[in-house]
């Protein structure tokens, strides 16, 4: 199978969906611009014309309401926010209107809208351009919330999100955009609401999602070599959440660590832990734990920001402590030194800022 980057895979999902269904349109600031939302919409304007790829004013709130109005008539709009923070201007529409419109119409109207929200970190973005905020949407009945961690899932989930007749919040982490993966050329669906066991294991269940999965996978091999076999679950969908897959896994491993992509306090990880302790408390052998980004505003300076992000050492230590398995200290330090990238504020070595 071909390897393509995450952003290419998003673009393929958009392209195939727009070819399949003429009602699918792209809307947002920058969708037609030469950079094309981190490459994900590049040249789509030329391909599909300005009725299908609609550049918009900086009016996030109205655009969201406009998408709703068009959607209940039959359009299938895909909105894009280059930073999740901009979408906060449209919170009223998302939380009060989009999520509830189907219900408020007693099932007579439907709201097939996808809102792509780009989240991220690094390159000194600072406190207002580095948030994730997944929980603000995941709390709301009526919304679906999707957050793929790789190019393959991104394509299948986005295609499915576009087919879905409900408002779907689609989180794309900027650092994933440049990571390649095996992606079939053809169109395929990945079901919303289904987590994926990306590594089978028996010693501990690690639940994670979005870019945090990348951070987990960086230490996976080392764990295996050293006799720790984690079962790693990629949530992929945050709402509705796939309780079954999580619970079945923890039933087996009897240990749980959640690696959150964002702040843990009142975060996604709190729900995962609650689901498990509510349902199979007796099965748990150890206290379930969570790690996320530091519960503070993310500063601009790279020397500060690096203390806020997920950190391989912390993840490793937590796993060791929960599983109770020991790893030679020297080996551990050597490994951590090796995987330490020179700079923690860029997604790959030859990256030249700014985003």
């Amino acid at each position: 199978m071909r390897k393509i980057k995450f952003n290419q895979s998003v673009k393929e999902a958009l392209t195939l969906s727009m070819l399949r269904d003429k009602k699918v349109v792209l809307m947002g600031l920058g969708v037609t611009d030469p950079k094309g939302i981190f490459g994900t919409t590049k040249d789509l304007g030329k391909k599909f014309g300005s009725t299908r790829v609609i550049e918009t004013p900086t009016s996030e709130n109205a655009i969201t309401g406009i998408a709703l109005g068009a959607a209940i008539k039959g359009m299938r709009p895909i909105l894009t926010h280059q930073r999740v923070e901009f979408s906060l201007l449209s919170m009223e529409q998302i939380v009060n209107q989009l999520s509830k419109w189907h219900f408020m119409s007693a099932g007579k109207q439907k709201v097939p809208i996808v809102i792509r929200m780009i989240i991220g970190k690094g390159w000194g973005q600072g406190p207002q351009h580095s948030q994730s905020l997944e929980v603000l949407f995941s709390h709301i009945p009526g919304l679906k919330v999707v957050a793929p961690s790789n190019a393959f899932d991104a394509k299948g989930l986005l295609i499915q999100s576009i087919k879905d007749n409900n408002p779907v919040i689609f989180f794309e982490h900027r650092w994933l955009h440049d990571i390649s993966g095996n992606v079939p050329k053809k169109s395929y669906d990945i079901k919303i609401g289904k987590a994926k066991i990306i590594k089978k294991g028996k010693d501990i269940t690690i639940v994670s999602f979005s870019e945090a999965i990348v951070q987990v996978m960086r230490i996976y091999k080392f764990l295996k070599i050293n006799g720790i076999e984690p079962e790693i679950i990629d949530l992929r969908t945050l709402r509705p959440i796939d309780k079954k897959t999580i619970i079945n896994s923890v039933k087996k491993t009897r240990k749980l660590l959640v690696i959150d992509n964002s702040w843990t306090t009142y975060g996604i990880s709190a729900e995962i832990i609650s689901i498990v302790t509510e349902s199979i408390f007796k099965k748990l052998k150890k206290s379930p734990q969570r790690i996320g980004i530091k519960n503070v505003m993310i500063p601009s300076s790279k020397e500060l920001a690096k203390h806020c992000y997920l950190n391989s050492k912390n993840i490793l230590e937590k796993i060791i402590s929960i599983t109770g398995k020991n790893i030679n200290k020297k080996k551990k330090n050597l490994f951590l030194k090796k995987i330490n990238t020179s700079e923690s504020d860029i997604p790959y070595k030859d990256f030249k800022g700014p985003f």
Partner: protein, 321 residues
């Protein structure tokens, strides 16, 4: 009697009597939801909607009864909705602030001020670029909604894409208990603001339904032709309290005599006056009124007799298939 007059009279009389009936019946505590009555403001809904076809879409606000009825929304389903019943237009899920009737082009109403404005723009966006039919979308809102940013974002977008929209602002001078002077500079002109966005705009009195009708007619014809939006502001006045079934002039948030002077401009009386100077056929009106009174009685009976929705409905509309 002139057909137009008859149609307008039907609409105004119906709105007035439905609202009055709600107002009297509310005390029985069976309509257990907030209601924002339109008594005094009927002419705008009637005059505008008389120009709209079934396929034309409207969208409204917390104060939507008049628009719903003016546009021909099903009365039984409306009253049942207020009673929280299964036969309600939203199966009791929404109440008075969430009226809709898709068969009659009424796409919705919500109690968040300003929020239906972009939604209406979206409906028109679809009409223009996908439906390519001649229908137009009318967006009703109060002058308070023009203080919300989303109104301004919406008119910019509507103007930019030359959408077939009639914006109808009912300026009733108040937002809840707050008069205009505490919310907008005296020199602020909503009409001029909209105009400066490249949209044809007009201000007019809102209590003479014939004035409303002809301004709306002219505007709608233009929209159908050039397919750009037009904005109309109508000055009008709400008689009862902001929310609820009662009079509230005793609260003194409105200057003494203001209510009375507006009651003298009663849309119903005004129209009746015109009809009587034009025609003597008193019994036509009588017939109309009787028929409507009967319809209203029926609707309330229907609503009361209807069943409450079943619990199972709660999980049914979380997601659409």
């Amino acid at each position: 009697m002139n057909k137009l007059y008859r149609d307008l009279y039907k609409k105004i009389y119906k709105i007035r009597c439905v609202e009055k009936k709600i107002s009297t019946m509310y005390k029985h505590q069976e309509m257990r939801c907030p209601v924002h009555l339109s008594i005094g403001q009927e002419a705008v809904a009637a005059g505008v909607c008389a120009n709209l076809g079934k396929k034309d879409e409207i969208i409204s606000t917390h104060r939507s009864h008049a628009h719903y009825l003016g546009k021909g929304g099903n009365l039984k389903n409306m009253i049942a909705e207020l009673y929280g019943k299964d036969k309600g237009c939203a199966k009791g899920l929404g109440g008075s602030m969430h009226l809709q009737d898709l068969d009659n082009g009424i796409f919705g109403s919500v109690p968040i001020v300003g929020s239906t404005i972009p939604i209406g723009v979206g409906i028109a966006f679809y009409s223009k670029f996908f439906l390519k039919k001649n229908n137009i979308t009318t967006i009703f809102f109060g002058e308070g909604a023009t203080e919300e940013g989303v109104f301004h974002e919406s008119i910019n977008f509507a103007s930019l894409h030359k959408l077939p929209i009639l914006f109808v602002c009912e300026n009733n001078l108040y937002s809840v208990y707050t008069g205009l002077k505490d919310r907008q500079h005296v020199n602020r002109s909503i009409k001029k603001i909209v105009e400066s966005n490249g949209i044809e705009s007009h201000t007019s009195t809102g209590n003479d339904v014939l004035d409303v009708y002809s301004l709306a007619k002219e505007s709608i014809n233009k929209i159908r032709k050039k397919k750009g939006p037009i904005f109309l502001e109508f000055k009008t006045y709400r008689w009862l309290e902001h929310c609820g079934p009662n009079w509230d002039d005793n609260l003194n948030y409105r200057p003494k005599g203001e209510l009375k002077s507006w009651m003298n401009k009663c849309p119903l009386k005004k129209l009746r006056g015109k009809i009587f100077s034009n025609s003597k056929k008193n019994n036509t009106l009588d017939k109309i009124e009787k028929k409507i009174n009967y319809e209203i009685e029926n609707a309330f009976q229907f609503a009361k007799n209807a069943k409450f929705p079943k619990k199972e409905i709660l999980n049914k509309f979380i997601y659409s298939n």
